[in-house]
């Protein structure tokens, strides 16, 4: 009785899942993603796998929840004209073929009985990359603060690889009006193809790789890159959801539970960005990534319970921190607002 209350039966994968863990992962992905402006999908596949989902199901479920999450944000960006649809549609080919190859690779590994360990080790590498980026970014910010510069990000503007790449003259050459450049169609197709494979293989949106590629390799203005990337994330999510479902590797119940958690979490995360100050929280984020990496390794060596404790503990800590930022900030803002109104009313009287 006690046991069955905490565990939800997943009808397709046939596993019993600790549902509070599922809700927590969904909520954290929303909160952390909303706060740092970087999709939190990297923690979903390992998290679901640690909770007991077979690896292929974890990937399929992750990619489907990305599709749901990205719908609204894409609509918002397209309202502001931040999406270059021509570029988006050209990239669509590469993304879809890439996702399919990634998914086929997973199915092939599954047939060989190696999908669990291989994906887990690739994830360890991938998370090492993310944590390196976060800590490196922090280090740079601290250095430039010491040197007295205000904006540490400007150093990246010197990179103009795209100018060389635009000279590649393989037909068809296409002019992208919104983004404002002309290049060989193969350039965006290749970029989206590679990110597509990664997205289909790891069950992520691929924005982590696609965003810098759009800006530095393709030469997109940053705001167009953000919108177009979101459009691409949506397409890759939808196509990924479709192809993984067709392969029978999805758990709809989990997708819906996580989407609900993510929608609520995303609001808290995005509101919290308004009140957050300083770089300290980035260290927390980096630590969460490292904790996630450690829990994958624990899972790989069979310590399932400690793996679950590490990952759930780490993401709840960071969530509590973000929520406290949000609550403090929001309370202060509402208090100020009320006081202003009271003062205005007193003035009128």
């Amino acid at each position: 009785m006690e046991h069955s209350f905490w565990y939800l039966h997943m009808p397709i994968a046939g596993v019993e899942i600790f549902w509070p863990g599922l809700v927590l992962i969904g909520f954290s992905v929303g909160t952390i993603g909303g706060f740092f402006g970087m999709g939190g999908a990297w923690m979903v596949t390992p998290g679901l796998n640690i909770l007991g989902f077979p690896m292929a199901f974890a990937i399929g479920t992750d990619i489907a929840h990305i599709a749901g999450k990205s719908m609204v944000s894409t609509m918002r960006h397209s309202k502001f004209g931040n999406v270059d649809y021509k570029l988006g549609f050209v990239m669509l080919f590469g993304t879809m073929v890439g996702i399919e190859i990634g998914a086929q690779l997973i199915m092939w590994l599954e047939r060989l009985g190696r999908v669990g360990p291989v994906v887990r080790w690739v994830y360890v590498g991938f998370l090492a990359l993310i944590s390196f980026m976060v800590f490196y970014d922090y280090y740079k910010a601290v250095q430039s603060k010491k040197a007295g510069r205000i904006d540490g990000e400007k150093g990246a503007e010197g990179i103009t690889w795209y100018k060389t790449l635009h000279k590649i003259n393989i037909p068809p050459m296409i002019h992208f009006k919104t983004a404002g450049f002309t290049c060989s169609a193969w350039l965006p197709i290749m970029v989206s193809f590679i990110t597509g494979i990664l997205a289909g293989f790891l069950g992520i949106g691929g924005g982590l790789l696609r965003m810098p590629a759009l800006v530095y390799l393709i030469g997109c203005p940053t705001h167009i890159a953000v919108g177009t990337d979101l459009f691409e994330v949506m397409i890759s999510g939808l196509y990924g959801a479709f192809t993984y479902t067709l392969k029978g590797r999805i758990e709809l119940v989990a997708v819906f539970v996580m989407l609900t958690g993510a929608a609520i979490g995303a609001q808290i995360g995005t509101v919290a960005t308004k009140y957050a100050k300083g770089y300290g929280i980035r260290i927390g984020f980096g630590c969460a990534v490292v904790a996630c990496m450690a829990s994958i390794i624990l899972k790989q060596y069979g310590f399932d319970v400690s793996a679950a404790v590490v990952i759930l503990g780490a993401i709840s800590l960071i969530c509590v921190y973000i929520i406290s930022i949000m609550l403090k900030g929001a309370a202060a803002e509402l208090r100020d607002k009320k006081e202003r109104e009271r003062a205005a009313a007193a003035f009128q009287n």
């Binding site: 994968a13 596993v15 007991g52 077979p54 690896m55 292929a56 599954e110 999908v115 669990g116």
Partner: protein, 111 residues
């Protein structure tokens, strides 16, 4: 302007739901007793829904049932002694298997 696509989507979903009941298959799970390659049939000893720690796939009921597997989608080929889960359609007295999952050999919980 906005109503049109929404309207069509709802209509489509409604139609799909109407046809929904046509797609239903029975499911059974049990211990594979024999596989007849020539006749393309598979016989199992059906298990019940009483899942316990030592019998995670259910307890044997002693009721044997035979399935026609000629057109079925088969994963890891079932052998005698494997626990299999079968989705099937009943046509007359015959049970036509649609999909056969080798539960014990592929053990999804370990992936």
């Amino acid at each position: 302007m906005k109503r049109n696509p929404v309207f069509w989507c709802v209509t489509l979903l409604f139609l799909v739901f109407c046809f929904g009941p046509a797609w239903a298959a029975e499911v059974s799970q049990g211990n594979c007793i024999s596989v007849n390659e020539k006749d393309k049939t598979l016989t199992i000893d059906e298990y019940d829904l009483n899942f316990t720690k030592d019998k995670p796939y259910g307890h044997p009921t002693g009721k044997n049932s035979t399935y026609n597997i000629a057109t079925a989608l088969i994963g890891i080929p079932p052998a005698k002694g494997d626990v299999v889960r079968i989705s099937y359609d009943v046509k007359g007295t015959e049970r036509i298997a649609l999909k056969i999952m080798n539960v014990s050999k592929q053990d999804l919980k370990k992936k």
